[in-house]
Subunit: 197 residues, 2 copies
């Protein structure tokens, strides 16, 4: 998605060969117009899939998930990273390892918000090792619902998450795929290579 790549070129900061900082529009400050455009792009790509619900994980996934839910006219559910006092015990749980924070987390979703009839689009801001997406996919599968696809804002194509998800059979659509990060420079996967996926 050219609008997103342009934003990454302009405002993204490659902090190292593995960390891309995009906190000016995706992870801390949010660009609502860009979110809307990304939601519409996911809606366009997954049109005709009879999606009934969007599933994401707090916190950075919520903005793009809401924009996608608005474009598709379906509810959004965000998985919680820790269980608040007001949530009852009736939840699906999946383990997610955070490489950024080097810690094991659990994500939980209340059982009442995913039904076996649901056709779920998983949406998240980043795809690196695929831990979050696989955790969300596990929750959908525990619920006996269908996974229509996985929509990702930025895929670090040099890490193994995309391969893990595609090998598992999921239709993964990433709006920007990064081939390489070097200090101060972001290289995107060429469209030709993308078509060979």
């Amino acid at each position: 998605m050219e609008q997103l790549k342009e934003k990454i070129r302009k405002e993204g900061i490659a902090l190292s060969d593995s960390v891309l900082k995009v906190d000016s529009f995706l992870n801390h400050q949010l660009d609502p117009e860009l979110m809307k455009a990304m939601g519409e792009e996911f809606s366009r790509y997954f049109a005709g899939s009879q999606i009934t619900k969007i599933l994401t994980v707090e916190a950075s996934g919520i903005a793009v998930a809401i924009a996608t839910g608005l474009a598709l006219s379906v509810p959004v559910v965000f998985a919680k990273k820790k269980k608040p006092l007001t949530m009852n015990q009736d939840v699906y749980v999946a383990d997610v390892f955070s490489f950024t924070k080097q810690e094991q987390n659990q994500v939980t979703v209340s059982k009442k918000f995913i039904n076996p009839e649901d056709r779920i689009l998983i949406v998240d801001d980043f795809l690196a090792h695929g831990e979050a997406a696989l955790g969300l996919a596990s929750i959908v599968e525990q619920a006996g619902a269908a996974i229509v696809g996985i929509g990702i804002v930025i895929e670090k194509a040099f890490q193994d998450g995309g391969k893990r998800l595609r090998t598992a059979g999921y239709d993964v659509y990433s709006l920007a795929r990064i081939e390489k990060l070097e200090a101060g420079k972001v290289t995107f996967v060429q469209e030709e290579l993308l078509l060979q996926d």
Copy 2:
């Protein structure tokens, strides 16, 4: 806002005389159409205030903040509840006590996302004791920016947050104000009382 009150009457669950569960549309599952309507209502109320940015706190505030940012065509910043490894030290910090979780937290905002010229609308999902809103207000004041107002989805008017914020001089606009919670029953503040504020 009648559409929101109707949703609360239909789906809100008064778990006790102080806890209202609205996880089917605000805190876990999200209703994008309702978010859009709420964002437009905040935009209508604060029209003409030359708002340059929305400030909220992760995670439940993000959805309504994005909808408001879209309605007002301004960026959204969400304060973080703990400092991730990829965030540098150049942040504003405020203490926020969570009565629900009975723990002291800090919220942080990167200094680069609030400037002295900014005119900030603070948005959050709940107003109870006012801790989160006061923490966000403190951050805006640390930055030397102006606080245009505070937009709240659900105000528990029987707790002291609204009074604390209004006494401090902030223009607080709550889309639904709850006078009383009893097991299974939600009573809203009468509009007449609201006009006397």
